[in-house]
Every structure is written in C-alpha cells, then in structure tokens.
Symmetry: C2
Subunit: 302 residues, 2 copies
C-alpha cells in the first residue's frame, strides 16, 4: 500500500487542512500509523489526535460515507469466496473504556449487512459462561467462514476488568496473556484474520460524555452509576491496557490504538483499518461450479 | 397517520412524476396500500408497479437514504425502552422467490446496527432442526426485547416449498396455517410486533435476473442449477403463496405484498412498512433509574 498525501500531511501537524475540491482519493496507511509496536507506551498517545489524516470532521464523515460501498463489496467477496470452499473470515475486536464509542463503531462502521456480520457484545459472564474456561464463550462467537465477526468487548476483559478488580487471583490472570496469544494464533491459522482496536479516550473526554448522558433524557438509558465508580480506577485500567497491548500485539494479531476523543476520526480509522486488511486479503469471486453455457440454455428454455 | 401527497398522486397513476425541489416530505400509507385483505388475489398484483409512490428510481433511492436516520433512531428508542423493562420487539419476515431481492433488503434496509438487529437466514433444515417441530428453530431465532429480528425466509417455507414438493403429507402441511396463526398470536401477545413481507417478482423478471447471474462472474456464486428446476414449479409456488397470504394475513400479523420487479421500490416499501410500524409503536426513552442531580455531583467530583 503506497503512502498517501494525507499521511504525509498529517506528519506536518496540519491535520485540519481542507481536502482538495476533487476529493481526497483513496486513503491508506492507517495500519502502519496506529499499530502497537516495540516500545509502545499508551500514556504517550494523544487521544485527541487524528493520526494519518489531515481532514477535519466534515471531511472525515464524507470519507467514511465514500468508503462504505467498497467495504460492503469486499465483504460480499469474502462471503462469496466462502461459498467456493474458502475458510477465510475476518474478526474485528473493539475494546475501550465506557463512552469511548464502541456502539458508534457498530452503528456507523460495520452496519453493512446483518447476514454477513456476526456481532457479539460481551457483558459480565453468565453463570453458564462462568462454568467454562474464559475463552469458551469467545470461541462460540467466532465468525463462520466468509463472515465479519465483531466483538464489542472480548476476551481482553479477562485481563482488564478482571485484573483491575482482582476478579481472579493474579497467578491466574497473569497467565492469560500467553493463553490469549496462543488462542489467537490458532484462530488465525484456521483462516480468520484478526483486527484488534482499542478506542483510546482521554479521562477528560469521558467525563464530558458521561455528563452529557446525565444532561439528556434520551441518553439516560446509557448511564450507569457504576460508570463513575469505575472512573476512580482509571489509572489501573490504563496500566492493564498497556500490559494487554504490549504483550498481545503480535505479528499474528496486532493491536491498533485509535485516538477516540473525536468520534468521527475513530469511526473513520476503524473503517480504514478494516478496509486495508480486507484489500490485503483480496477475496476472490469463486469460479462457476456448473456449466455456464448449459445453464443459459436450460434457463432460456423456461 | 395522515395521507400524503405521494399517496394521492400514486392514485392518479402518475407514478413517475418528479418530486418537488424541496424534497418529498415524509411518506406514509404503505401499510394500507400493500396489506393483504379480504378477497386478495396474488395473480392480480402487478409485480412491476410502485403502489403508493409517485417518484422514480432516483427519488426512491433518495427517499430510502433520507429515512435511514429515522429508522435508526426508532430502533435505538426501542432498544432503550427495553432497558427500562419493556418486552417489546419487532420482527420482519421476508419471503419471496429466488432473486426477488431478499438479500438487498438485508444490505440496504436493515443494515442499521448489528447489535440491534438479529438476522436469521433459514435454509433447508439441519438434521437437528428436523428432529423438532417445524416452529422450533423459528422460536429459537425470535428477537429479544428491544431488538429488530429479521427472517430471510421463515416458517412459511413449511407451507411453501414443503407444499410444492410434498416434503410432508398434505394432511400435515394443511394444518400448519392454523398452527402458524396461533404461533404468531402468541408471539405478538408476548410483545413482538410482526411485519410480514412478500417480495412479489414476475416470472419474466426472475428469468432476467437469473440470466444476469450467468452473465457475470461476480454473480456466479449466487446461481444454483436448482433455481431453473424450481422455475418449472412457478404456478404451484404462486398457489402456495396465495394460500399462505390469504390464510395467514390476520389483524394480529398482517401480510404485505411488495411488488419487487423494481428493486429500488421494494427496498423503499419495506423500509416504509417498518417505519410506519415503529412510529405507531412509538417506543419511549426510559426514565432515569438513578438520581440525576446526585450523579452529576458525583461525576463532577471525579
């Protein structure tokens, strides 16, 4: 994937520059820009930045809308490929603190085709789920061949909230990083490409978003008094995220950290991460498994 | 719901008239126009018509796009309502012959929010499903409170393909109409509003769409030689649809027949049927179940 003008511009810091009148062209380079690599430090990431993108909110919304058709077509090709026997699938894992915009990603990025998308929101485990290994419910929700699976929270909660609140002893959660890496290796080997995204919100922006929920009756339903209690553990959550990101960003299943104080940017970045991954997968239409000429003749006769 | 200008115009037959420059305003009246009532005869329905709509393809696509936000908001309200204890949900049942556009409804109408939409495609029953009553797999796929369930094919296959091909004896399938009506009554009583749509395609248009699949390598994967064999049973399918529509269009769960030779019209009509139903349901944001002022103070202190 070539570097884009947008990427180079972003490096100049001129991130609110306007796009050319003839449109911004195809974007690219979000994976390189957002990937968690060696020496990564979450506390150095500016949640208010818009890396690899030089447009503003209006541009970002336009670019998001413009790319929807390509995303939809790539997912249709992925599905089509599976009807020819391919086992490939794609899994988007979305993590982030409360109000970081996970629901917005669902509504604005992956709302493509309900038959081609298998979304699962992982809440506190049920009694049945608790009776199994922590990966049991995750395995059950993995996408079938040809599908886009989307996890709203995931097995990473088992090294995030579980670690912050000591829901299991340290000697148990501390082994899970390696367990997760082995699990993801297995999933990838079976044909599913994994894209892991952390929506990185600032503490101040979370406060503003929670306050908005308390100001608007149409947002009350999203508010939970427990959210304020959780804010008191902010630093511990950041430490837990740092550990998960650093220990589980592998070549097999890399983590991407998406600054999320600007909702429009976070949605665009997640969409572009998916698009870049799908372009690289390059799913192909399967060949006909029937005699095309003979079928045309049969059909013509009806 | 008031009658719209669009509806009145449609009655003049001027259905390809242009919309005013200031936009068409809110549509309405699709339920009345498309509902299966007393004396209904499927063979009198013109699959190429665009009832209750006087715009053309371009207008239809614009109107579809324009209403997406309202549909999304009504579904969010329905979900929010459920968090306050409401058991209400909505179920869209989509039936139609091969190539009638069921997939297009999935991609272009109900692709709203994968976490709020539970879509199920019913294929030939599996061995496990066959070991149960024909409604077993249907019950398992009913939407949870607050959700939009979408059935791509449904329990009606058990009085359609099953009847056409004598997959069970007549004395068995002939009792299913009443069984289905009782089942749907039960579902509605439990809080789920049912919208049943038949996408009504002409025999000639199906032939053209199948031929297109044979002409385009990116459509091969949708083609199945069995589709041509099924065309030979067209009249029997129409008889089976007539019986299902006439016997199972009840006040509890009415059937709507949507002319589907124009894809853009079928998508718009299904969207409007959903919208009109959701507007009537009028889901409400639940009240706060916490002390708003106290929470504001707690949050401000963080």
């Amino acid at each position: 994937m070539g570097k884009t003008k947008g990427k180079d511009r972003a490096r100049t810091g001129d991130r609110h520059g306007s796009v050319p009148a003839d449109g911004p062209g195809r974007l690219g380079g979000f994976r390189e820009a957002l990937r968690v690599g060696d020496g990564f430090a979450l506390d150095e990431v500016d949640a208010g930045a818009t890396p690899n993108y030089d447009g503003g909110k209006r541009d970002g919304k336009q670019d998001l809308a413009r790319a929807e058709e390509e995303l939809s077509e790539l997912l249709e090709r992925l599905y089509a490929e599976s009807t020819g026997g391919s086992k490939r699938a794609i899994l988007l894992v979305v993590q982030g603190m409360d109000t970081s915009g996970k629901g917005g990603v669902m509504r604005h990025v992956v709302a493509v085709n309900p038959e081609g998308v298998e979304a699962t929101a992982f809440k506190a485990p049920t009694q049945e789920e608790r009776a199994h290994d922590f990966l049991w419910r995750i395995r059950n929700a993995l996408p079938a061949a040809g599908q886009l699976g989307v996890f709203d929270r995931s097995h990473y909660e088992d090294v995030l909230i579980v670690r912050v609140h000591d829901l299991v002893p340290e000697e148990e959660w501390s082994t899970r990083y390696d367990t997760i890496n082995r699990f993801e290796r297995e999933v990838v080997d079976a044909g599913t490409t994994i894209v892991k995204v952390m929506l990185h919100l600032s503490n101040a922006e979370q406060k503003a978003r929670l306050m908005e929920r308390l100001d608007r009756p149409d947002k009350y339903y999203k508010y939970n008094p427990g959210d304020v209690d959780e804010r008191k553990h902010w630093d511990e959550y950041m430490d837990a995220y740092q550990a998960a990101l650093a220990r589980c960003s592998t070549d097999t299943a890399p983590w991407y950290v998406v600054p999320a104080d600007h909702k429009w940017y976070a949605r665009l970045a997640v969409q572009q991460l998916l698009l870049e991954t799908l372009r690289e997968m390059d799913p192909t239409w399967p060949p006909a498994d029937f005699d095309v000429a003979a079928e045309k003749a049969r059909l013509a006769a009806t």
